[in-house]
Symmetry: C2
Subunit: 390 residues, 2 copies
């Protein structure tokens, strides 16, 4: 070792010099598959079986989903030889807390989930949020599958890599970007979804339609109501198109900015500027989808105000929303709430509110200057919504 030591000392001056600044660089690849199946419960079980084979798994679901599907799917998987535990978790916006994520972690530890173990979330947005946070923490991140059961889950919340829980008075204050290993999209679950929750999901589909593609808007105008009424049971070409087109567009949008570190101008933030504040200020009495819906309606009126859309298109949108049973107004909607929302959005979006407004072309316009949206404009827009709502 003597020679090594000497040759080493020869480089020591260089070594000391280089020490001034050292940098670490690495790339991490995010890669996962989303599978859409129009099959029934057997098909769903069979796909999950393939994904879970040879791994220790824990399926987390909500009480409602557990009774409808969870127990049956878990049993079928266990019978097929999968080493799977089933856990039921209360999943409401009020219980979307760190303690709930901690509970999932404790269960995982209890059943012996190791680094190669996998969690499965079978439920709506809240269930996926909690499981995503738990999976991201366990062993610094283990695999997890998303099997959304709500329309919001299918077309929006289930597809991405985000998870979060509420903390203090702040919605989604704690969370992570943690890609699932796989996502299973099965419209079968929509058959038992309440009309109210189906409508909430339509708000997210409308979001994509208004700021990303007008063709989708026409499809919804033509078939939206029938789809809600039939709970997507008649999987006509139109139903599949609406679902898949929403999903494709969502994935497309996600891909370019999945860690939200590329740009603060995100089309999918449409409907998500005023809605978090609406949710918080109504103590989550309005659901996420309902709050998003009201945000979409307000943004539509603002878009007309700024000359981005014609009054005819504005009214066409609002009347479609009413026809689909999507809320467009709440008494809690005030200019004060809106300005608070814009301030909050600015803190999230690099200093600008980047309020997303739709245009006639089915594209997004980003309002960067909060001062443009003053009390007068807000009061007037809210008044329009209240009137149309009557």
């Amino acid at each position: 070792m003597g020679t090594m030591f000497i040759s080493y000392l020869h480089h020591s001056t260089d070594l000391l010099y280089r020490a001034k600044a050292l940098s670490v660089r690495a790339q991490k690849e995010t890669k996962y598959k989303i599978r859409i199946t129009y099959g029934g419960q057997n098909q769903i079980t069979s796909i999950l079986k393939g994904w879970l084979a040879g791994q220790k798994a824990m399926l987390v679901t909500t009480p409602t989903v557990n009774n409808l599907y969870g127990k049956a799917i878990a049993k079928a998987l266990q019978n097929a030889g999968i080493d799977l535990s089933l856990k039921e978790l209360d999943c409401t916006e009020e219980s979307k807390t760190l303690s709930q994520a901690e509970r999932v972690c404790a269960w995982a530890q209890e059943v012996g989930i190791d680094r190669k173990g996998v969690l499965v979330s079978l439920g709506g947005g809240v269930c996926m949020d909690i499981v995503t946070v738990a999976a991201s923490l366990i062993h610094r991140g283990i695999k997890y599958l998303r099997v959304p059961t709500t329309l919001i889950g299918l077309v929006d919340a289930g597809i991405g890599i985000k998870g979060a829980v509420n903390f203090g008075n702040a919605k989604n204050y704690l969370g992570c970007y943690s890609p699932p290993s796989k996502v299973l999209i099965a419209p079968l679950f929509l058959r038992t979804l309440s009309e109210e929750r189906l409508r909430e999901g339509f708000a997210e589909i409308l979001k994509i339609a208004l700021v990303r593609d007008g063709a989708l808007f026409e499809l919804i105008e033509n078939d939206g109501l029938a789809l809600i009424d039939s709970r997507f049971e008649d999987l006509s070409v139109s139903a599949k198109l609406i679902l898949q087109y929403s999903i494709f567009t969502m994935i497309d949008e996600l891909k370019s900015n999945i860690y939200e570190d590329q740009t603060y101008e995100r089309s999918v933030d449409f409907g998500h500027t005023f809605s978090p504040t609406i949710e918080v200020e109504t103590q989550y009495k309005l659901s996420h989808g309902q709050a998003v819906s009201i945000d979409i309606a307000l943004s539509t009126v603002l878009a007309h105000h700024f000359g981005l859309i014609q009054i005819e298109y504005r009214d066409r949108i609002l009347s479609l929303m009413k026809r689909l049973g999507l809320p467009i107004y709440t008494r809690k909607l005030t200019a004060t709430l809106c300005k608070k929302s814009l301030l909050r959005a600015s803190s999230y979006r690099g200093g600008h509110p980047n309020l997303v407004l739709p245009t006639d072309k089915g594209k997004s316009y980003f309002v960067k200057d909060a001062a443009l949206i003053d009390d007068e404009i807000l009061d007037e827009s809210i008044r329009v919504l209240a009137e149309v709502d009557e």
Copy 2:
């Protein structure tokens, strides 16, 4: 929009076909700088001031470090116009819990840390672990700086991107890979470090020396004791070399496998196979560094057993350890504990224990088959350590 709709329907068959499998792919870049400064407190403050300018910051430190440096540095930064809050956190291995990370999150919320805010961890490994986990959760990950104050922190724990807390009975069961935005390495802090904690740090330096480069081993043999005695105060070329060479080698090792998803053969796992179990089974009465030290000693004896090193080199290592005051044995060290450790390591390292053993060339050898390390070999090796220890 009519034409869009029609041209859209033309593509619908293709759309339905493509739906079978959808995949999301994206790259995330990890990039951060490590700065080494040999300056005093003014220099440290001045560097931090540059890093924190214009941002809302919260500095988290331990009670001991707060009295020695935290208050003074915080005050100097505040006087220099930095919007900084100072928080003191109890940081022991027992209090390395999710609740403590949650506490940091609550403080952050209280002082109004937004997405552009930054946390600073000023302390040892536990402080950095807790702050890393908190920062990774707040707003799905905000910026944070690492300013390690222990020798382990300077050469090992402070450099990487990992954070974790203990959970249930499992060490580091919950955690994250979350890169700091910057790391400041300042040997100044070593001047007030206890001899015991300096020794713990030397265990990590020895780790790098034995499995990555023999030259470093010779440096430690020559100057290690003097460095401990002087608490690195005399920053001779040798002290700087030992520090920097450890840091460079650590960074080098990190770079190739920073998310630990490239290989399960990691040289830096040397000393970290038996030590987590030793820590847990002694209820953290033995510190991380002490447990690592005993692990290194045992692995050294095992390396000789497998013919990877000569008996002279084995004894040279053990006698250096004794001279530096590094523990090589504890009564808790049994064959049962070791086999439990190998099993646990296998669950972390893709099914193989990948026990790292040093070779004569200062390189790593990975034992992939736990069966090779049977009771007899373990008992005999532990006996050797007990004897040398006497």
